[in-house]
């Protein structure tokens, strides 16, 4: 009893009061691309980027591929890249994930999804080659700090109870049938969310013969949540924006 009280006392209040305004200290999040011109003929960022996420003319980063390693910020001789702690990184389409000078990713509210799921959303997570970093961050959404249940959002065990299928990992051939089974077991209306560079684009595993990404062609994700892994707040912003919650 006394021990339990001591734990309570030490625990205090742990929840992040406002998930919308919280900015994680030190987090390498949304990149900003400055207006300063590139050095003539310089392509060092494009060549060195391990995920081939950078385009030049104009300079742009594809957040669907980027693993937020920070290398481009470090090596650009013209200082064009700055990673900020802003966790708002998601978009609804692959094109929406291309960040350029003055262009930021944003998630538009989906009126239908907002009407149906705006106050209660049950999600089933399936990992298909995920490295357990995305999975741990998605789990963290339900801990006492992020407490995403405050918005009526919950992880469920059975796809039968789920409204959304949240995919992580690059989609391995060895999981292809299982992913489809989970999806087939979900009642309509339902939707898919891709979380992490691997799920969005294949990430570092793009083009590997061990993958089978045909599922994504058939059940197109309505939400793409970048990161390697995405910060829990990145997911929170993405899903709340999709549902038009505050």
């Amino acid at each position: 009893m006394l021990r339990s009280l001591r734990v309570r006392l030490a625990q205090g209040r742990q929840f992040v009061p406002d998930l919308r305004t919280a900015r994680p200290a030190g987090f390498r999040g949304r990149p900003e691309i400055s207006a300063s011109p590139c050095a003539a003929g310089c392509t060092v960022c494009r060549e060195e980027c391990p995920t081939d996420a950078i385009r030049i003319d104009p300079v742009a980063i594809d957040l669907g591929r980027c693993t937020f390693c920070g290398l481009c910020e470090e090596i650009c001789p013209s200082g064009r890249f700055t990673f900020t702690p802003d966790p708002r990184l998601a978009a609804r389409t692959p094109e929406g994930l291309i960040v350029r000078e003055g262009v930021q990713p944003a998630v538009a509210r989906d009126p239908d999804l907002a009407r149906i799921f705006g106050r209660s959303l049950k999600l089933r997570q399936v990992s298909s080659g995920g490295c357990n970093a995305c999975e741990l961050e998605l789990n963290a959404l339900a801990n006492v700090n992020f407490d995403v249940q405050r918005y009526g959002i919950e992880w469920v065990a059975s796809p039968r109870h789920a409204d959304g299928l949240v995919l992580t990992g690059p989609l391995t051939a060895n999981m292809r049938d299982a992913v489809r089974l989970a999806w087939d077991a979900m009642p309509d209306p339902r939707f898919v969310v891709s979380v992490g560079a691997c799920a969005i684009s294949g990430g570092l595993y793009r083009g590997s013969p061990t993958l089978d990404r045909t599922f994504l062609g058939e059940a197109r994700p309505v939400l793409l949540v970048p990161g390697c892994p995405p910060h829990p707040l990145t997911f929170v912003h993405a899903i709340l924006d999709l549902l038009g919650v505050r």
């Binding site: 021990r3 339990s4 001591r6 734990v7 309570r8 030490a10 625990q11 742990q14 994680p24 200290a25 030190g26 987090f27 390498r28 060195e48 391990p50 995920t51 693993t67 937020f68 390693c69 920070g70 290398l71 997570q125 399936v126 990992s127 298909s128 080659g129 995920g130 490295c131 357990n132 970093a133 995305c134 999975e135 741990l136 789990n139 963290a140 801990n143 006492v144 700090n145 065990a157 059975s158 990992g169 391995t172 051939a173 060895n174 999981m175 292809r176 049938d177 299982a178 089974l181 989970a182 691997c198 990430g203 570092l204 595993y205 590997s208 013969p209 061990t210 993958l211 390697c228 892994p229």
Partner: protein, 482 residues
């Protein structure tokens, strides 16, 4: 040290080294850290890394691939997983292996091929099977478990993995040096730092690059944060699985403090980009030291409070004590390593061989071999790592961030590195050809050896104990599936 032996002397050379110490050599008994193979034309090149008294020896041989390879698992059961992998990766016959089943279905064929898995069956009027997976109830990676039961009692558990196979090793060998570190960071995301450090050590060996003490210290700081963070995650999971809500919520929020500290140091809660070959990949100055110090103060105050509450709870003791036992003898036989090994009396922790970084560190060994022992090992290691981190803060060590280029790799060489991650030994072996290009990259997560420990520990127990046994091992699916 690398020793080549002719194929005819291979068996003897290997079994001699793992045999108990015999005079006059006086060597302590060796342990096979890894064993793997690759095809080179018509030949099979086999490599074993053997540890004796903290010294690693690489023992190698070549043999005609067509002749096949004669299994040594019957004599040295700890080789069971290595030889299954060797067979799957090289296609070479491994004769006489008692359990030569696919390890991760690397051969293509996808999930259709996985359905051909030759499950062990138990027959009898009242025997029944319970199949679980590949998708499990939580937010967790996939794997298939099949229990053969008599009523509630588990006669045998078989674990089929491979669902997470992404071709990590093939990609590492593909020659894109830009991707090496980012890829190894995703072998097992919860062991990002352990893998990145092992990779850095292996490639630094090959490139003949020496690094500063600060560089190594910068890695060890992130590794100990990774260890504390993941041990707390395991404890939170265990608490959840036995319905101990206070433990679940408290260990969970303490982990948040730890991984947020990693983020303060290197920009990522998982230590991504915190380790790069050649130099410290993040700066550790007054700000970072201050952030680490205040986290350590909080953890030093709050962790003992919840540990005390958790361990003194009668229901926790009953739920974890005596459940899922792996005896010390069995652990040694099957080559159990890491937390699970130490909880079954195995005196193994690679950090003791890094006295330059970890002076006075002793493996946290428990004799019990049950879920409670695995819990206690984690608690003690958290305590020890926090103490170690505190000493770093007090030493006022600091370093700037730097970038180093690694240069060319030595031709026809092998770099071998073993790092004690939070689960156990993470092994990276990189081999170059005569031109200095990578011909082989072998990575190994401790889960590879330890999954069998989980399968054996539930035998004779109640099937309802499986979730806590599983959590107490806390093994990696993607780390084993690669």
């Amino acid at each position: 040290m690398t020793t080549w032996v002719p194929a005819s002397a291979w068996r003897e050379a290997l079994t001699d080294r793992v045999a108990a110490a015999t005079p006059p050599s006086g060597h302590p008994a060796g342990r096979v850290v890894t064993l793997f193979g690759r095809r080179e034309g018509d030949e099979l090149v086999v490599t074993a890394v053997i540890e004796r008294g903290g010294v690693l020896e690489t023992l190698r041989t070549r043999m005609p691939a067509a002749d096949g390879y004669h299994s040594m698992t019957e004599e040295v059961p700890a080789l069971h997983a290595f030889e299954r992998e060797l067979h799957e990766q090289t296609g070479v016959a491994v004769r006489g292996h008692p359990w030569l089943k696919p390890l991760r279905f690397e051969g293509g064929g996808g999930q259709a091929a996985m359905r051909t898995y030759p499950w062990y069956t138990v027959e009898g009027r009242d025997v029944h099977e319970v199949a679980v997976g590949p998708i499990h109830a939580g937010v967790i990676e996939p794997g298939s478990f099949r229990f053969m039961c008599l009523g509630e009692r588990v006669l045998h558990l078989e674990i089929q993995l491979g669902y997470q196979h992404r071709g990590v090793e093939q990609l590492l060998r593909s020659g894109d040096s830009r991707r090496l570190t980012p890829l190894v960071e995703t072998i097992a995301g919860d062991s990002t730092v352990a893998n990145a450090w092992a990779h850095a050590l292996a490639i630094e060996q090959l490139a003949g690059v020496g690094v500063s003490r600060e560089t190594e210290l910068s890695r060890a700081v992130l590794l100990e944060l990774e260890r504390v963070g993941m041990h707390l995650a395991s404890l939170a999971g265990l608490a959840t699985d036995i319905g101990h809500l206070q433990g679940a919520s408290t260990y969970g929020r303490l982990r948040t403090t730890v991984i947020n500290t990693s983020m303060r140091l290197c920009g990522s809660r998982f230590g991504r980009s915190g380790v790069r070959p050649g130099a410290p990949a993040y700066a550790f100055g007054a700000d970072q030291r201050g952030a680490l110090q205040s986290a350590l103060e909080l953890l030093g105050r709050d962790v003992p409070v919840i540990d005390d509450r958790f361990l003194s709870d009668i229901s926790v003791q009953h739920r974890l004590g005596g459940i899922g036992v792996v005896s010390a003898a069995r652990a040694k036989e099957i080559g159990l390593i890491g937390v699970a090994g130490r909880a079954s009396g195995q005196d193994l922790d690679q950090r003791v061989h890094r006295a330059d970084l970890y002076p006075n560190l002793l493996p946290e060994v428990e004799p019990g071999g049950d879920c409670l022992a695995r819990t206690r090992v984690r608690m003690r290691e958290i305590h020890a790592s926090l103490g170690w981190l505190r000493a770093v803060v007090e030493s006022r060590a600091g370093w700037p961030r730097a970038r180093a280029s690694i240069g060319l790799l030595a031709p026809s060489s092998m770099g071998v590195a073993v790092v004690e991650g939070f689960r156990g030994e993470v092994v990276h072996c990189m081999e170059t050809d005569a031109s200095g290009a990578l011909v082989h990259y072998k990575v190994q997560d401790p889960s590879l050896q330890n999954w069998l420990g989980l399968a054996l520990c539930v035998r004779g127990g109640a099937i309802s104990d499986f979730p806590i046994c599983n959590k107490s091992f806390d093994l990696s699916y993607c780390g084993q599936d690669l």
